[in-house]
Amino acid sequence: MADDISAQIKAEQEKRAEDSATQREDTRVSLAGSGGYDQDIYGSGGKHDGYLTSLPMDDEEEEDPLAQKINQKKLATYTAPKEAYAHLQSVEDDVDPFAGRIESHRIADREDDYHKRRTNRVLSPSRQDPFAQDKGEAGSEARSYAEVMREAELEREQQKVMQKIAEKKKEAQKTTGQDAPPPPTPSGRKRRWDVATPVVAPAGTSAWNEPDDHVAAPTNRWEETPKAEVRKRNRWDETPVASSTTSWDATPRASGVTETPTAKRSRWDETPVAPSGMFGATPMGAGLGMVTPNLAVPMTPEAMNAQRWEHEIDMRNRPLTDEDLDAIFPTAGYVILKQPASYQPIRTPGRKLTATPTPYAGNGFMMQDENLKQNYGFAPSELEVPGGGNLPFFKQEDMQHFGKLLDEKDESAMSAEDIKERKIMRLLLKIKNGTPPMRKAALRTITDKARDFGAGPLFNQILPLLMSPTLEDQERHLLVKVIDRILYKLDDLVRPFVHKILVVIEPLLIDEDYYARVEGREIISNLSKAAGLATMIATMRPDIDHADEYVRNTTARAFSVVASALGIPALLPFLKAVCNSKKSWQARHTGIKIVQQIAILLGCAILPHLKNLVDAIAKGLEDEQQKVRTITSLAIAALAEAAHPYGIESFDSVLQPLWSGIKKHRGKGLAAFLKAIGYIIPLMDAEYANYYTKEVMPILIREFQSPDEEMKKIVLKVVKQCAGTDGVTPQYIKDEILPEFFKNFWVRRMALDRRNYKQLVETTVELAQKVGVTEIVSRIVDDLKDESEPYRKMVMETIEKVVSQLGAADVDGRLEEVLIDGILYAFQEQTVEDIVMLNGFGTVVNALGFRSKAYLPQITSTILWRLNNKSAKVRQQAADLISRIAVVMKTCGEEKLMGHLGLVLFEYLGEEYPEVLGSILGALKAIVNVIGMSSMTPPIKDLLPRLTPILKNRHEKVQENNIDLVGRIADRGAEFVSAREWMRVCFELLDMLKAHKKGIRRAAVNTFGYIAKAIGPQDVLATLLNNLKVQERQNRVCTTVAIAIVAETCAPFTVLPALMNEYRVPELNVQNGVLKSLAWVFEYIGEMGKDYIYAVTPLLEDALMDRDLVHRQTACTTVKHMSLGVVGLGCEDALLHLLNYVWPNIFETSPHVINAVMDAIEGLSVALGPGTIIQYVVQGLFHPARKVREIYWKIYNNMYIGAQDGVIPYYPAIENDAVNSFERSELYYIV
């Protein structure tokens, strides 16, 4: 076989020699011959050879393409192509190419249609609080539960009627034989397209007015009989895709609302509250206003502006009256004609509507507030709000809510209510726009005064702000925080506002941002704690069977949060009632969804109530509504998932219906039922699981072929679950599942969808756990040579996971050969270098271990070949592969091969791409680690000098790998390199101390220790002490750590004299550095410190008396570490002495200093015992000055917590008085 392979290698190599197109020419290295060093590192020519001395600054200097090509060929460094420079030159300076691409921070701009539905909800009037003492508290318009329920009922009724109308229309269309698309699904006022108010044709320009035949027909479905003008009546009925394709195909997120509308812009993309949406385009605002008249529709400043303009235009375009005409025309020479008899003024209402826009529908005329400061196009960067201090910014949008603050009215003339309102407004503005300290102060004030302000005034201002269409993430976060804080304070006062708050907060629960969801949950949970269960249920009950699915969805989620806050048992009776509601299927659906959400939210916490929850929803499985059945099975799946692995007995009641369900249903319903079964089976004991798996499997296998993506995912999931249970035997899987499974799922198409891909890999790995590696791998190994790359990748990932979990022990010789062959093929054929391939390769070779010896020459030749590839990615991957298989090569005894590899890698150290260079260094490190310092080729004494200059490289990956390698050499093979070289390394290392990555800093610091050990601490220490003088703090801190490490590795006595001597340098930074180093030293050396305490005590005395705070702070830290190190080693005298120096610092106020002082005292109380400390503390516990008492009690408490028992004999004796006896007489016993 070996012959066979070597012949194969030879053939391979010959083939490659012919096809050397992919190889680099200039830097190829022969294994045997002398290596060519990288020219531009070692500098064979002048430093500036190959560089242009200046960059061409304009277009004229364009060289001819041929010359360019020649230049490119010996490119010394990698820069942008000339064309790119030329392009940059031609672009104007102050054009921001990304201007149009910056993601908007506005929440409204990134929402999809579903999320936007939140804007359709309104802040309903406050509700009455049935628990309140006086009923009129929430205002006269507060509604009772009955009223709200009635209204909800009405709304549903309305929706039903709308649906009937739509159906009738459909019918009518059918009878006329016309196949116009169905009208948009009406769902009451909740949808934007189909508002029930008469629709007005837009006056402004929009996509609708573009000349096409739709617009030419002024008729619409509101006015005409189905017979007339059949062809053109489709304007409103048509699915809008036909009208303007470009805007429809565009991404759904609306372009910024403030932008001036461009020609392409379709008003369908806009939120209804956006300016053009409100006036003219879709009369949503009007619709809203009509439904709930007492709602003031929030208007953005843009909206107001638009309204003003529109008003002005209308004034100018109004029909001319007779007086006007008289004024215009000369009085003589003109006759007023009578209108012809045949003239008919327009009477049809539809045309009238389309003819004149009614821009003020619902809003009425609005007087411009004269006192309102207008920013005429200026955006003031900083604004003085009276009494509010300087705000960093004040946006135009803020004017709408906070404009009042700027009117400079005299507050003394106002009523108490107004003053309160302004006060709240000012605080909110500060919270929204202020600097962090302002924000903090304002937040505290608003929290403290929440009850004085009252719930009404607060929420009436906060909630509209949260509904604003221009709201941004940060603002929402802040306002939500405000609500959270004031909820605590307001407690039961919030009851009338619960619904309003829910309307605003519920959308957070389905936000795409995780933190928004968490925030929303927190608020709702606090809200339910403040308002109580009864109020929450009464408030949310009407929304449970709301007409809009969006409302029901968010309500269900909110309810699950309530359940988690107040406990499931409290909510159970209600849930049972809702899930069995006879009134509407929506209510049942929502109820069951609540259970599902509870399971998802609470996880295993549902276990105590599992039986009840399952029973509550069990009936849903046989509901007549398909949707209810589906959500029930999903809820059961969620419950089973949360309960895993317990609670199978709770599911007894649903097993039967589920069982008959999977036999009855098809399609989506079946998918949900299968999912439920799939999650229940893992809970069963082995016997049952086996039985049920066998029962369900035929259906699963039937559904293997389903083209439905959702079904595929669920089937895969269920197969995974079933295969994971104990009862299912490997033999069964082999015989029944595997053939069909591989036939249907292991196809190329599955690799294309990310989620399918993942699920398939997971399921296959799970199957492999049962049936073993060989069974699975042998089936897919041939696909490693498939022509589709994504598919190969999927195969590779599966093999990697299977092999890494189960090992390669039962892979036989034949399979092993095919496997390596396939992997090599897949690895070489990748066009996109992928970590999956690399991992797979590494894992398989490592799993095979010694058995891969036969293939190593071939693998090595592949690596060598790829190391010289043109593409940087390929080279990087080859180097990475070396580091993965180095251990195996050693196991196989291929030291010689590794020596070769080391040599080659060494030659490539001139690599120009940092990523690749990093990998090459990593590979070298792996080889050095494995074969050891002495047998390394190239020898260490050649390798290290080559690494020193690379330490200058600023790239993180290069730095990390290089410092690891250097550190390794310093640790194990320092003797191979001269001391002078190590000093050079030391200097380079200093720069590494300020690296961003902690790993690099740590490696650098450790390397200092190794080097100091190798060449003695003196020189290294000198370097480090000098480095204490640098300005940069991080650099100094790392230097102190390095000094401490040197002290630790070379014994402290070699370092301390020089270090303490350095303290005499009259420079703050240096002295602090010395103190800090001492702190580290004593931390690291622990009890070795007992020999050095007396030596450093005078220095610490001095530091603890220094004027400089940091001196004392750092000295305190040192004392802490010192005292903790020498507990019980007989150094109490020195420590007591130091305590006397530490103690006067207890009144420091700077947080870091007082912290350090407290730590020092705590450390000392460990070392000296609580008896000593309490002697000090007793002096001040009852001091007349509160400030003194406070700090003394704090120290006492700290000491007390640490030594409650130990302090007992040391309490001072308190004399008995007339009433009380404080004496603890037991302690006086003497026998």
Binding site: H1152, L1181, N1197, Y1200, I1201, D1205, S1221, F1222, E1226
Partner: protein, 83 residues
Amino acid sequence: MDRSNLNSQLEHLQSKYVGTGHADTSKYEWGVNQARDSYASYIGHYPMLSYFALAENESIARVKFNITEKMLQPCGPPPERRD
């Protein structure tokens, strides 16, 4: 890290323990805490109990019982509240 935060963290930690005090702790409160801590400690250290039993010429169980009883108002009735 700001000042109030740091202090409040420490104070929060301390306030979890019953026996800790603060600037307004009275002599009576402190005395009671001391006494209870002491009694708890005696009960926890058996040699102490046996030593006291020897000194008092009582059985160990009796000493233990007495001490436990004394935990309630160890220093007598609390002083009159002066508001």
